[in-house]
Amino acid sequence: MSVKEDITARVPGGDTGLIVLVLASAYLLYLLAGIGLGYDLRGQLNSIATLTFYIGVFAMLSLALNLHWGYTGLFNIGIVGFMAVGVYVMALVSKPLYVAGGAAQVGGLGLPLWVGILAGMLAAAILGFVVALPALRLRADYLAIVTIAMSEIVRFSFLSGDLQAFSLMGTRVGFGGGSGLILDFTPPLEALFQAFGLWGVYNGLVDAFRAIVPTNPKPVVDGLIYGLLLLGFVVAFYWLLKRTGESPFGRVLKAIREDEDVANALGKNTDGFKIKSFMLGCALMGLAGILWLMPQGAVTPNFFRPRVTFFVWIALIIGGAGSNTGSVLGGAVFAAVLYQGPRYFQNLVSTVFPNLDSPSGFGQAISPLISSFDPVPFLLYTIDSIRQLQLVVMGLVLIWLMHNRPEGLLGHRKETASVIPLSRPKSMVAADGGADESVRTDGGVDEGDSTVDRESNGGVDDE
């Protein structure tokens, strides 16, 4: 239909090729921007690591949301609440035991990191169950209301003083309230490599990095490796959700999205399927939240404002709801262009034109435009405040997408909900072949037929 569709169809390697292409161009752009900004190697590596990090988290979150919205048609706008519960429960379980006089005001249960991660995912899933149980039986919109309210309730709960510190199993634990919670457990990479006995190898790698980054290479290497780890998780999410979608289970989810009554009338317990799908997605959102915040030193409740939820929605809409490949792509594009992009653009402009004298306020920016039709101050002001305008840019992109490509970059790509390809089994082709003179052999011919069919019916069906 559009030119873009032709391009997405022409990329070699199909969807995978497209993802690789998009990632490669994003990295290339960032490297070029880095050169423009005059970054040294360390700066370039850091910028790559940061980009990878955000591509990873947004791809994961948008994959999880795709299970809810793209597959099951569940309108979840409380994503950030499930992330928060994941992180906070993980911290509660894995933070070391409270020691009086230490930096941390509260402790945790001191259990290993992986136990904490599982507990966080479980808690997010259970919260999903509690939220879904009453809301799923009502009309779809109510789930939206309940989830966004839940995410704010979660945020305010972690802000509240009542949960700041309490006693659990004889030790002082808590969520830190508004001042935040110090995440003083073993750094995730250290825990991971130690678990596999590879910590020494990792330290060797850090030392080897001294060759290119002479001073303090550890943060650089940490960032890069953590980014790679996140991409690994993206692959795992993708694998899991692809299998979920391409199965009889996924088929029922799709049917629920299309028409729940029909699925029910065909003997599918739709409430059960919806709850399972919702809980799985919530657990994955919890995990994504954990992976996002785990490497930071601390976590505060106000990170979990609803805007994060809408970032994920934008990522999914860009990529195309209903397609796992599209979700990954949407996450990558969102992270590279809309989330990190404006910051880089502003830095780039101020580096390339260091002497730009942008006006300090909106009045000064707008008055020359009105009095003497001089747009330059206004333009400079806009560029100067592009980071603050990030949300406006996102809004414009959304409006543009809704008008021109509501199905997203890859939304037209339908992933068949079955374990096997659904063309006529070979055995049946042979059996029918001799007897019936009007045989339609298999997929190839069928598709030819059906396009004709579509064209001849098209006009009427569109009504």
């Binding site: 009889p248 699925a263 065909l266 209903g322 069919d453 069906d461």
Partner: protein, 287 residues
């Protein structure tokens, strides 16, 4: 099923069956002979009583028509039988089991499947996906089985079996040439075929068709009817809601006439044709 102190008709019937070893052939086997029994069904919406104590039975292996003027309560009766609506009073018994107030999926899993008045295809799924959805007890409907590597082979095996059946049914209904098409792109008649084919794949004992011929051209109507008759001969039981009197009269063995939420009369098409009350109801006697 029912309290011991108050045995239901079915219990008695089963008991007789056991005791007499089928000696009283006529009085026995009510449930086997009449798989669907509706007793005193009642449903009102606000002040309007849509179904007002309807009682009837559907005989096994027949094509039974349910007719009535607009607003007679046909669709509501359908919805009450299939669990889409919960009755205010009355019972629905299917294959000897009280299914009143069960969820639609529970009723479908007991072997009674419905189609909808306006064909409700799943538009963004292909015809094949629509069809693959329908079969009951698919192993892969358990999430863990679908994602766990070794267990997924088990699911794959069943999918291959199902796919063969799906293609057989596609061939039977002559819609194999649109198998890969999105259901949303089908014509009205093709949707009706798809819906009936899909319902059939759930392996039901009984099919409830809600106006399957509405908006279907004469050629396709003939084709659909042929399918219905062929299936009936294979032993399926049909309950058919239809507006078109001629169609019902020419094809059904038994006709039930609903009027103002009650069964006005029932009998063979000839009985109905000559019934004054029916004519009056249709031509607008009392309202």
């Amino acid at each position: 099923m029912s309290d011991a102190s108050n045995p239901s008709v079915d219990d008695v019937a089963n008991k007789v069956d056991d005791d007499a070893l089928g000696a009283f052939a006529s009085g026995v086997d009510t449930t086997e002979q009449f798989p669907l029994q509706v007793e005193g069904l009642r449903k009102s919406f606000g002040g309007i009583t849509a179904v007002d104590g309807a009682s009837f039975e559907v005989e096994a292996g027949t094509l039974t028509g349910l007719i009535g003027p607009n607003g007679a309560g046909k669709s509501t009766t359908f919805n009450l039988i299939t669990g889409m609506l919960k009755p205010d009073a009355g019972t629905v018994t299917f294959n000897g089991e009280d299914i009143t107030g069960l969820e639609p999926h529970e009723i479908a899993n007991r072997g009674m499947v419905r189609t909808f008045q306006i064909a409700r295809e799943l538009s963004d799924m292909t015809v094949l996906e629509n069809m693959m959805l329908a079969p009951k007890h698919q192993r892969g409907e358990a999430l863990w089985r679908s994602v766990t590597p070794v267990l997924r082979d088990d699911v794959r095996e069943q999918e291959e079996e199902l796919l063969e059946r799906v293609w057989e049914v596609l061939d039977f209904f002559d819609i194999d040439h649109i198998a890969h098409e999105y259901a949303g792109n089908l014509s009205g008649g093709q949707r009706k075929l798809l819906e009936m084919a899909r319902a059939l794949l759930t392996d039901p004992d009984m099919l409830l068709l809600d106006e399957p011929f509405a908006g279907v051209n004469p050629t396709l109507e003939k084709k659909l009817l042929e399918h219905v008759h062929e299936l009936r001969e294979q032993g399926y039981t049909f309950l058919l809601v239809e507006h078109d009197m001629d169609l019902i009269m020419n094809n059904c063995e038994h006709v039930i006439v609903l009027h103002q939420g009650q069964v006005l009369t029932e009998g063979t098409p000839d009985d109905i044709r000559s019934n004054e009350e029916v004519i009056e109801a249709y031509l607008g006697g009392t309202v």
